[in-house]
Symmetry: C2
Subunit: 249 residues, 2 copies
């Protein structure tokens, strides 16, 4: 499994991914799952990947190889819109499905892959997409300004409670790290280091590309303070009267 999270806020976009991959519990490794495409001055594109590593690496390799292409339908740097970028990523995923889908199936493996694709092209708006294994996709809106892929459930409640389009970039990163902490605590298929990319609105550049390791002092303190805080507010909640003083019915 993996866990990746992308958010599109008024202040900009935040992309966070873990880096554990595993094929069974005895084949565990660290691979980066966030990719920043910023080789053209007019745009920044970030892709996060979850699912079968061979599939998602193929997609990224093909996208990278074609960056120099002059065709607007082939190069992320030539695409006219972020919609076209998402379409291109989906199309590339379909190519990989054409190459590998039947072979995977003959080995009993499903074609499992999903990608978060976000970014901005100069003078256009920031957009964030969730690309499914079939190559189709949905786009984030103000009602649902974030996407999660991979092992999404453990870390969802805090995001649901905190994130709105008005959330600041630093609060969004803090929320993402709390969400990753909950997930890492509950599921060994998600693990540090965590890669964080922050793209402020309208700059078309990533202002931050930061790797959080298990030695990171901020993350260590966040985990401890959050855990202590949770236990404290939990202990302050009143206990149910009907358990303290049960009446026989």
């Amino acid at each position: 499994m993996s866990y990746c999270l992308g958010m599109r806020l008024k202040a900009g976009m935040v992309f966070v991914s873990d880096s554990r991959t595993n094929a069974g519990v005895d084949s565990v490794a660290t691979f980066r799952k966030s990719f920043v495409f910023d080789g053209a001055p007019d745009r920044v594109i970030v892709i996060l990947t979850a699912g079968n590593l061979a599939i998602t690496q193929s997609v990224i390799s093909l996208l990278e190889e074609r960056l120099g292409s002059k065709a607007a339908s082939r190069s992320l740097y030539k695409a006219k819109s972020m919609y076209d970028v998402a379409r291109m990523v989906g199309q590339t995923l379909r190519e990989v499905f054409e190459m590998d889908g039947a072979h995977l199936k003959s080995h009993g493996a499903d074609f499992v892959a999903s990608l978060i694709v976000g970014g901005q092209i100069k003078d256009r708006r920031m957009r964030l997409f969730n690309v499914y294994a079939a190559g189709n996709f949905i786009e984030a809106t103000d009602e649902t300004p974030y996407f999660q892929i991979g092992e999404t459930k453990y870390g969802k409640p805090i995001i649901e409670r905190v994130i709105t389009p008005e959330t600041s970039l630093e609060e969004a990163v803090k929320c993402a790290l709390v969400s990753f902490d909950s997930t890492i605590k509950s599921n060994i298929s998600v693990a540090l280091p965590i890669d964080v990319v922050v793209v402020p609105a309208d700059g078309c550049r990533a202002s931050i590309r930061y790797r959080v390791t298990d030695e990171d002092p901020y993350f260590k303190s966040l985990r401890r303070t959050w855990g202590e805080g949770l236990r404290k507010i939990f202990s302050q909640l009143p206990e149910p009267e009907w358990v303290l003083n049960p009446t026989k019915d």
Copy 2:
């Protein structure tokens, strides 16, 4: 989906289940998923069910029909130990598989069912089991004093942080309700009312059988206070310095 939670603490056992069943999003209904067997004075047995409702109802019906049987291998009230009770529940599940498994398969449906089985027989210890669809089972220990079945992930982080064998019954109920709140917020296949059963240690009786509805004043206040508390401690956590003051690398 469903969400059920059973805990075995030093002070006793706590069983909590939601009551939503759905076959697709347009066929939603309310069914009780917790069953208390307390018709014999020397024991109390509680069963929580998740999965295909036709399967789990069949299991419960067969177990109920056989309560009057004189055979120790047929009646929950004659079983010599809680281990035998778990074995009997697993065996009954296998009977249902024999009857329905192939038919379900021919309609493209998997045989999905899991049960939490717990209780105590006089002068013996409290025991808690997680019975799988195959009819085999595992038992809770002091290291892992609880089991969840169904939609388990959203509500796991708070349990992981709070529950130990030393947790009091009222704290355990409170934690369970917080865990259900997080799950209900994130997943429409889990819903109120919530059924709570509390079995204090060594009494061999349920002291509490309580149904939490959406009008329940304690639960309403718990949800609000917990949500506010979470947002408060979240806002008190320091923001990452490297987002507030990024330095170009």
